[in-house]
């Protein structure tokens, strides 16, 4: 569906995007992750034709980017970062203008589409309000309605959930998941859990380069050894507990952390080999009169990958 090869964009004196290549298949949800200033927005802007690439090719369906720009633009629904809209227009007038310019000529069809979109994006109560008076979340929804106006095959969303409250974030994610069943979606974010929850595939970008590009599941798989055990004990002293835990196996690395509650002691336990030590820990603690409050295995797979990949060379 989308093929990007050796895409590069230079601005005065620095290279924002450096030789990016990637492919997005039909019906896939791709999450573009990266720290601030990594080149996510620039990449998306080139895909949507707002920036001209300094070099490299963009192929969307059978169209090449600079040559068939108008055809490509009509295939893509794009929500720019922080949804820049015309502030002096009413929501209805704005949507009407967008629909006209995107070629929905028939008045009835336009009206039907507005009804569907206002249901999907929850706009029915704000149709008659000036855009300037809307809150950020509402603007974001109008922007989303704009992007989905012609029911495009490809949706490109630049940080669709930034600056929204938790309810709105959940709503937008639901919308993305719903429409993502039939459509190809690329969206950028710097919230890891969001990418993890919604994307089929994740590409991590740092300093203008793609440093990882894989399915969400296999990315997580690849760092399973990064999991650790969280242990909280009641009635134990820090030092004696630590000594006891370290005596279980020489591969264990015990680090004491800030306890979750008062009068507890908490540890973060990692092992250098890949074994699960939870039962050993339980059996060992059973011999004492301490009480186990918490014994969980946690994996911060994505966060770890993200930190490793984006810290490198920083």
């Amino acid at each position: 569906m989308i093929e990007v090869q050796n895409l590069t964009k230079n601005f005065k004196g620095f290279r924002a995007v450096n030789n990016i290549s990637m492919t997005v298949r039909k019906g896939e949800i791709l999450g573009l992750l990266g720290p601030n200033g990594a080149g996510k927005t620039t990449t998306l802007r080139m895909l949507t034709g707002y920036f001209r690439p300094s070099s490299g090719t963009i192929k969307i369906k059978d169209f090449q980017m600079p040559k068939d720009a108008i055809k490509i633009k009509s295939l893509i629904g794009y929500l720019p970062e922080s949804a820049p809209l015309y502030h002096n227009m009413l929501v209805y007038d704005y949507l009407d203008y967008i629909a006209r310019i995107k070629g929905i000529d028939d008045k009835e069809t336009r009206y039907d589409r507005f009804l569907q979109l206002s249901d999907l994006c929850g706009l029915s109560s704000i149709m008659d309000k000036p855009i300037a008076t809307l809150s950020k979340g509402l603007k974001q929804r109008v922007g989303l309605a704009h992007a989905m106006m012609t029911d495009p095959q490809i949706l490109i969303l630049d940080e669709p959930t930034s600056g929204l409250d938790p309810n709105q974030i959940a709503e937008i994610r639901d919308i993305i998941k719903t429409i993502g069943k039939e459509k190809t979606i690329i969206f950028s974010t710097h919230i890891l859990s969001e990418a993890e929850a919604t994307c089929d595939r994740i590409a991590i970008i740092n300093k203008g380069r793609v440093v990882a590009d894989d399915t969400t599941a296999s990315l997580k798989q690849s760092v399973k050894q990064n999991s650790f055990i969280n242990l909280s004990l009641k009635g134990a002293s820090k030092d004696s507990a630590k000594t006891l835990l370290e005596s279980i196996d020489s591969n264990l690395n015990v680090k004491d952390i800030e306890p979750v509650e008062e009068d507890l002691v908490s540890f973060e336990i990692t092992s250098s080999d890949n074994r699960d030590f939870r039962s050993d820990i339980y059996l060992k603690i059973k011999e004492t009169d301490w009480i186990i409050i918490q014994l969980t295995k946690e994996s911060q797979a994505l966060e770890k990958i993200f930190q490793e990949l984006t810290r490198e060379g920083a």
Partner: protein, 234 residues
């Protein structure tokens, strides 16, 4: 073609949503009305010559104020990105915005039609120069709108766009008054570049293809420059 029309209508409506339109139109009518009628009864001539002779100067300040927001505001708010990622070409955008500004300046001239109507009651008025005058005014306005559009495409700051636009329009307006300082060899070229003489010809009622060609060329040159600026900046 359809896209141009949609953009033009949207931009034209935009003028009337904000108070700019009403402020600019009032200002224009007060300034031209005052200068025209303050001497009208002294000379006692039943024509609009004084009104039209003032137009190039008033236009060179009023029109950049109308056109300054066309691109600058969009760039500043960020909606320029929204606009450029919709299925429209640069030409559609430039022409649509140009047409909107031209239609707006033309609608600004409509209330002044009451002047010749009023004069017709008190004296014999020759319709030729009046019709020519309005035709010339629309051409002049269109040319200055294209200049203002170009100025606006250069910057995201509306005030800078206004000043650049004023400077360019004002230069074109006064160019034929500066001939005195020019070397003899290039006088005829400079005279042709100045806008006022072409406008004066048309407003006398003499509709010469050379004058019309002049305005069409100015419009073409500046819209094309706008296109190039848009292309280079993206």
């Amino acid at each position: 073609m359809k896209q141009i029309k949609i953009i033009a209508i949207k931009e034209f409506k935009d003028y009337f949503i904000s108070p700019i339109a009403y402020i600019v139109i009032s200002l224009f009518l007060i300034v031209t009305g005052w200068f025209f009628f303050s001497t009208f009864f002294i000379f006692g001539r039943a024509d609009l010559r004084d009104f039209f002779s003032l137009l190039p100067i008033t236009f060179s300040f009023i029109i950049p104020a109308i056109t300054m927001r066309l691109f600058s505001e969009e760039k500043n708010v960020g909606s320029y990105e929204t606009l450029l990622t919709m299925p429209v070409s640069f030409t559609d955008i430039a022409l649509g915005k140009f047409l909107a500004a031209t239609m707006f300046t033309a609608s600004m001239l409509i209330p002044t039609i009451s002047y010749p109507v009023f004069i017709a009651f008190i004296g014999e008025i020759d319709p030729g120069p009046v019709i020519g005058g309005y035709l010339g005014a629309v051409f002049l306005a269109a040319a200055y709108c294209s200049i203002g559009l170009f100025a606006s495409s250069l910057t995201r700051n509306q005030i800078v766009a206004f000043i650049i636009g004023c400077a360019l329009c004002f230069t074109l307006t006064i160019l034929d008054k500066l001939l005195f300082f020019m070397p003899a060899k290039i006088i005829s070229v400079i005279e042709y570049i100045g806008a006022t003489s072409h406008f004066t010809n048309i407003s006398k009622g003499i509709i010469d293809s050379r004058d019309i060609l002049y305005f069409v060329s100015v419009i073409f040159v500046f819209i094309f420059s706008t296109y190039i600026v848009m292309h280079e900046k993206n």
